[in-house]
Symmetry: C2
């Protein structure tokens, strides 16, 4: 039976743009995933090359859902870097090739996909998805801590996202060691300097250059990677690699101190742990982060619920699709 135009389901696209991979999905009105695709993020070129790869990934996801990108109601993008949602631009996306300046991603990607494109901050978008679609919706206030290449964060206060003057949520750049380790952001002693995957890799490589023994490089080669991915760290810890265990323990302590500081300041009901490393290490490490928080929780405060994100790796793309509104 032929369906009329009115009966066509309203489909939306969502793209999670990460430093390592581009994840694209097509969802229906109930946020069920009808098609998905994953491509590696280009490691050279510039924003236009990244946009072209995003378009290819999204078209593949649309084909998988039996549609075309032109037929989508729109496509949302969760992006790293500094996002101007109103202008549709992304700037200073340091983990993406040649993306130091500003790029009109919404406009350019819109042309390639022949539909409207909305952009948002990757972590805020993922936390939005957890809050809209996951069990976290029962809380009035929460902090999201996304443990990955960097350490991102986002806040829900009084059931609404809190963005401050646009840049709120940088839990990875709360200071836990004045005068401490150098952070990729340029400052010293941030949570991310101890817990971010990129910072941990830089520190581990430095230690190995100084003669410290570790299986990290060998595991990276075995997995045919060029970076210490979450899987590489997890494998090293599983094998009892001393350097990896030391750095991951330090990351847990840093995340616990940062999350507890945020809770002492905001007294929220819940802390959600996500991100590549967060999802890879899972419940056992959520428990460890909770224990690290307890040491620093202000007496008299009640420990908030500390939970793993519920949407896993797809949270970012699902949240991006939620950016498409009528």
């Amino acid at each position: 039976m032929m369906s009329t135009t009115q009966e066509q389901p309203v489909l939306r696209g969502g793209i999670d743009l990460g430093g390592t991979k581009i994840e694209a999905i097509v969802v229906d009105a109930a946020n069920q995933v009808l098609g998905s695709a994953r491509h590696p993020t280009p490691t050279s070129g510039g924003p236009a090359d990244v946009a072209a790869e995003m378009a290819a990934t999204m078209k593949e996801a649309a084909a998988g859902a039996g549609t075309s990108t032109a037929a989508l109601r729109g496509v949302g993008v969760g992006s790293p870097g500094s996002v101007d949602a109103a202008a549709g631009t992304i700037s200073s996306a340091g983990n993406l090739p040649g993306w130091e300046g500003s790029y009109a991603l919404a406009a350019e990607l819109g042309k390639l996909l022949e539909t409207r494109v909305a952009v948002g901050n990757d972590v805020q978008v993922a936390i939005g998805a957890e809050y809209a679609l996951g069990p976290a919706k029962r809380y009035n206030s929460l902090i999201g801590v996304f443990w990955g290449t960097g350490v991102g964060g986002g806040l829900i206060l009084d059931r609404k996202p809190w963005r401050g003057r646009g840049g709120a949520g940088e839990i990875g750049h709360m200071v836990i060691h004045v005068g401490g380790r150098h952070c990729p952001c340029g400052n010293e002693g941030c949570v991310e300097a101890y817990a971010g995957r990129a910072a941990m890799e830089a520190h581990a490589r430095h230690e190995m250059e100084q003669g410290r023994k570790s299986h990290l490089l060998k595991l990276m080669e075995e997995k045919q990677r060029v970076r210490f991915t979450s899987a590489v760290w997890a494998a090293a810890v599983d094998r009892g690699d001393e350097l990896a265990i030391e750095l991951i323990d330090g990351a847990v302590a840093a995340l616990g101190a940062g999350a507890a500081s945020a809770v002492n300041l905001l007294d929220v009901e819940a802390v959600l742990i996500g991100g590549g490393l967060g999802v890879r290490f899972g419940e056992e490490y959520v428990k460890r982060i909770r224990e690290a928080m307890e040491k620093h929780l202000f007496r008299g405060h009640t420990m908030p619920d500390v939970q793993l994100v519920s949407l896993g790796d797809l949270g970012g793309a699902l949240g991006a699709a939620l950016l498409v509104v009528d």
Copy 2:
């Protein structure tokens, strides 16, 4: 000419209950101070003795305003410790004598003053006064950092106080040195462990016991005090006392790191510096705290305005009087 009962001005009382002094004022509907009194806080006894001293101070302020406490619309109290505003109780006020448990301050003080008494958290009350009566009212969001015996704080987000589950604002217990100095709260590495007057005094006395030279004790005796008050610290710094300068420099660094962490997380428009030491050290130190913040501010964030409280020592009592509502 006699005025009728209807023409009597509506007066309110406000009491700022501190670890060192009790400040009481009577204000009119325009928050003009008509009478005030200040007594030392009892250093022995228990909550009932403190309440009796509060009543005596308030009665003196009322007499100064040409009225009696029974004629006041009500009296508000800004108190340290854990405040249950609805129940009118204060518990765990560690800086007050024998006040480890819970005490029904509103009820007991109400009997002594023959008027209604409302209680609130001392720092939140002072920040409320700055926000209601000071130039800070132009901001949509701010963090108050009160540098005194401890380091207290409070938040205004979206033009409303943010209290979380009741305990928000503990900027003094954000962690700036994992594994760092012992804090009076029982944890390690908090801002207050480096910047709180009580923690600095404990640290200074310990250093002196180890043979470190300092004028702090002599200055304390000259000023006939039993503690290193704000005036003692200020005098020691003025004299170039090495230990005092080292500790105050450490306090500035700690306050800067804590405030920057809070700003990185919340991206508020302003940071207000208050408290006994904040008011005593004044604008020059507000500038120094701002500089200490700059080192830790996340790149891409705009520096918030950093300002001294405008109501000075009276902010706490004025804010307490604002607790009296019809």
